[in-house]
């Protein structure tokens, strides 16, 4: 419990190698393949869990997750616009990153809990998928206002049929249809290798994070302060939602982590298209350069203690 999880050590290796300007580079196709694998594996795991329980109780949880995403985006927008002086497009785009979720952070949190034998409700993977989307739509509305020219069809396509949501929901559907027994023959790939693949992925994330340092330096303290303060505000919101939904300590920890996490896959891609005026380097420096390592290294154990305090262990 005291020592660092090896997946975190892989992240630190990537970070240090990047900061020392090592020649280490992972092929782009490997990064893509690892992220496809992780999304599918998370979806399969969630879907397989859902197969063993009724689906009806999911509805309020999904609604709560959507509300959580919307509220977080609005809060982040307000803070960035009026406390940190961001212009409207930058505030909106960055807020969308923070209102959405990070798949890698989710994976590390569930691995952290699994290593401590703390159970997590299977539907957390559903909430992960659900929480990717609303912040995108809210962010766009905040940036543009709701005007007639908005091509909502294209936007929903982007939001719901992006790589992340397709693989998470697709994996979940397969896991649900096949059930634990059906998944047995593919589990040596999707279950046994999960943590090793996560380690490799975090190595690359470390390299990517190391490249955000330049932008962080240019932007001074503001991004660092916001990047730490925002998860510390969102996590209690998430934890409170977890308690209200009657989740276990594990589920509450994960929901707090989801709330605290900031997207770096679905949202950057969508914002780049929908809010071109926003500077993507800014949002990514915050989400990847500050919040992602903060959650990995400090946040997750903290959110767990919060969950224990609220739910009882």
């Amino acid at each position: 419990m005291s020592s660092l999880d090896p997946v975190i050590l892989f992240f630190l290796l990537g970070l240090v190698a990047g900061l020392l300007r090592s020649e280490l580079k992972l092929p782009g196709a490997l990064y893509d393949s690892l992220s496809i694998f992780l999304l599918l594996a998370i979806g399969l795991k969630g879907g397989q869990g859902l197969a063993t329980q009724p689906l009806a109780p999911l509805l309020p949880q999904v609604a709560a997750a959507v509300a959580l995403g919307v509220v977080q985006t609005l809060l982040a927008f307000g803070a960035l616009r009026w406390l940190f002086g961001f212009d409207r497009p930058d505030a909106a785009a960055t807020a969308a990153h923070y209102g959405s979720v990070s798949v890698a952070t989710y994976a590390v949190a569930t691995a952290w809990l699994a290593a401590r034998a703390i159970d997590v409700e299977p539907q957390m993977a559903v909430l992960l998928a659900v929480m990717e989307v609303p912040a995108i739509l809210v962010g766009i509305m905040l940036a543009r206002g709701i005007d007639r020219r908005t091509d909502w069809a294209a936007l929903s396509h982007e939001a719901f049929l992006g790589k992340g949501v397709t693989l998470l929901l697709g994996g979940m559907a397969i896991g649900w249809a096949a059930g634990p027994d059906g998944l047995q023959p593919i589990s040596p790939l999707f279950v046994d290798l999960f943590k090793g693949v996560l380690a490799l992925f975090l190595l690359e994330m470390g390299l990517i994070v190391s490249r955000q340092v330049g932008e962080l330096r240019r932007r001074g303290l503001a991004l660092v302060v916001f990047g730490v303060a925002m998860p510390l505000l969102s996590a209690p919101l998430g934890a409170a939602t977890g308690v209200a939904l009657g989740l276990s300590v594990g589920g509450t920890t994960v929901l707090a982590t989801l709330a605290a996490s900031a997207s770096y896959i679905a949202v950057p891609a969508a914002m780049r298209i929908a809010v071109p005026q926003a500077n993507p380097a800014l949002s990514l420096a915050g989400a990847l350069g500050v919040t992602f390592p903060f959650n990995l290294l400090v946040g997750i154990p903290l959110y767990h203690r919060l969950a224990v305090a609220l739910v009882g262990s």
């Binding site: 782009g28 490249r211 770096y264 298209i273």
Partner: protein
């Protein structure tokens, strides 16, 4: 008159004198529009080209540096692409104009024109 000094808008066949090892090749001038930009724009550019009636194009992967910083292709957000379109000068200019209006202000993008000679002018 030198065939390489014609007005490029004025498209007409150019017959190049045969050399001992070839029969004459009849080429025509067209314009090659090359664009370096963010990979995320690929679907938007495809939609634009389809709408504007551009019939052929080629994409490839790239990385680079410009006024918007280094884009080193290690992950989705930092990938570049190269788009090439061979077409009539007027169409190349129309698309360049469109790129300028719609994308130049907010995206990492560089575009330039050059003159090329093609064999089957009806294709372009």
């Amino acid at each position: 008159m030198n065939p390489f000094c014609v007005d490029p808008n004025d498209i007409h066949p150019v017959t190049i004198p045969s050399t001992p090892m070839t029969t004459a090749v009849t080429t025509e001038k067209r314009t090659l529009l090359t664009v370096f930009t963010e990979a995320a724009l690929e679907p938007l550019l495809v939609a634009d080209m389809n709408r504007l009636g551009i019939r052929g194009y080629t994409f490839s992967d790239a990385r680079g540096k410009g006024s918007r910083g280094v884009r080193d292709a290690t992950w989705d957000e930092s990938r570049n692409l190269r788009l090439e379109i061979i077409c009539a000068r007027a169409q190349a200019e129309a698309f360049l104009q469109h790129l300028q209006t719609r994308y130049y202000a907010h995206y990492a993008m560089v575009a330039f024109l050059s003159e090329v000679e093609v064999l089957r002018p009806d294709k372009f």
